[in-house]
Symmetry: C3
Subunit: 250 residues, 3 copies
């Protein structure tokens, strides 16, 4: 993919990661939404694509000065909304993302690619290069792109937050083992300890706010409640993995 | 290596991978041949070097507008041929790569390097930087380089392809577990199922052409027959690893 | 972090590694000291930060034309000394690094960062970007930086080297399994075999100086005694890990 981009565009490539879980569109969508808003405007090419080679579309979405390029499987919508300041709908059924917002989506023409198994190389990288060369202001003029309002959306599970109880899900586990939930960090403000799935755990501002090896609840850099261990792995200590339910009582 | 290159050349470095199997020259040669033809002309520095510090040569090979830099152990010849449009010989014994082709090979002067164990840093990176600064048109003028016709070659095992049977080898397993053989994909064109080492397996154009977790035979992005699992690992499901034999019947 | 840097500076980012052991400041300090002297002058941002969010300082150290940015936990001092040509003190207690040397240290103002758990993104990357834009000659003018002489130091354990015996420690194990000690390579010059923790092992200039799979003692690219296996893992064959003692007799 890097070779194809360099062969077709005078672009600076920033390589973000190749270490996301394989085939996991939801996790990819979560991390894109966390990471890309910290970048300056750019063409962002992201490929988690279990449907490669099938009749799923390839799409580009313009969100402000950013353009997202990837498969039409929901991977790009959450970060596109974040970049454009559009609220996430309650569920995919309620999605009116494209009609109600400043997002503009395009279907990318897939023209007899060299392979059916590596569209990163054969569809997305060349499209990203073409879009980069055209610049974001001229997407409408590219033959490669056809405006569309029908793209696959993806939303994240919503937590249930009450006064003394909150129920949510593990969204992802990061590289350190920190276990990131969808419960907003504001819910634990001013709290010094919580029951996490029935067990008492201290709340701390920092990992080092508890002794080495001790479990804690904190607010992570994403703003959500995070279950962690000081200098250890929260996922192992709490016995949790992505998709598991998390019940907090304060 | 990156520091040495940046200290000695005004170059843009593209970092392709550090995740190839350790010490495995053949696998490195395979992936270089697959990957580098997608790049624009460049100085490509590749180091898989079990003989580091011994009297094995360091070489540079000019292949068209590309220059390859690395140890003289066969790593660079297959991709050099691919870049220059030279056919692979039947075997290393038949190799006349350099005499019959447009490839030009040079021995790199190894002048008392700082270490005997890290020629990536002490020999190959500085040579790549010097070559980059000189540009491909001036290789003959570099004191660092001495033309040579004696370089170590490497060829890949050839499959035996008959009308209804094909026997080959697993060349490599990719990061997803896809098991890549040396049997040409054209051999399975129009076929809907095959026996793979005796077991019936469907043929599909795409991974998603079978149900999740199901084995399939497909043509990979390299053009060869590939043994895979939809959203799973082909190597584990087929019980195969690089070097293993693969027998197909249609 | 890359996004924040690109959003705040016109910089070329060189991504060295994300694969160091988690939370291990000493190992990070070792590798920084080995790697950065091969780089041209630059702003080097390094984060191994078990105390993130606590009252530990964030610091920048000017060492010649280089600037190091990271947490004030010892990570940066060994490489700063190396870059400035300052000898390592016998121990942290003897450290007069900043008063006696050409190193200039600054405390980085931490101004209500967005998170308490990811100062790489919220403190160090923005500071590195600001410093890069200001250039090394103008650090004293930056409001962000306050000169300080009180920084946390870190020294490495010293070996005991006698005429026929040397005792040291495993400093780190590299990605190949090579087991790197703190015993200077000069101590094994001209020696053909050693007892390593009581067992006879050949000394060789190169990994391939012994048969495949055989253990050897060599001098690594860092100049220290290294315990290795030709095309294998020294750490496993010697049963050693970082911090273990190593006793050599010749």
């Amino acid at each position: 993919m890097k070779g194809v981009i360099h062969a077709n565009a005078d672009a600076q490539i920033v390589d973000i990661t190749h270490d996301l879980p394989r085939q996991d569109v939801r996790t990819g969508a979560f991390w894109l939404r966390e990471i890309l808003p910290w970048y300056p405007p750019a063409v962002h090419c992201a490929v988690i694509d279990p449907g490669v080679g099938t009749d799923r579309d390839a799409i580009a979405i313009q969100a402000g000065e950013h353009v997202l390029v990837g498969p039409d499987n929901g991977l790009l919508l959450p970060v596109a909304r974040e970049l454009a300041g559009v609220n996430e709908p309650e569920s995919v059924e309620d999605s009116q993302t494209l009609t109600e917002s400043s997002l503009i989506a395009y279907s990318i023409q897939i023209d007899d690619p060299e392979s059916t198994t590596f569209h990163g190389r054969d569809v997305f990288a060349p499209a990203a290069a073409t879009i980069h060369e055209a610049t974001v202001d001229n997407l409408g003029d590219l033959e490669l792109l056809t405006p569309t309002e029908s793209v696959v959306d993806l939303t994240f599970p919503k937590p249930t937050v009450q006064e003394t109880k909150a129920t949510g899900d593990v969204m992802v586990v990061d590289d350190f083992g920190n276990t990131i939930t969808n419960i907003p960090g504001s819910w634990i403000e001013g709290v010094s300890a919580l029951r996490v799935n029935g067990e008492q755990v201290p709340v701390a501002d920092t990992y080092a706010g508890v002794a080495t090896g001790v479990r804690l609840v904190t607010v992570g850099s994403h703003g959500n409640v995070e279950l962690a261990v000081n200098q250890g792995r929260g996922d192992e200590a709490f016995g949790l993995e992505p998709g598991d339910g998390v019940h907090l009582e304060r």
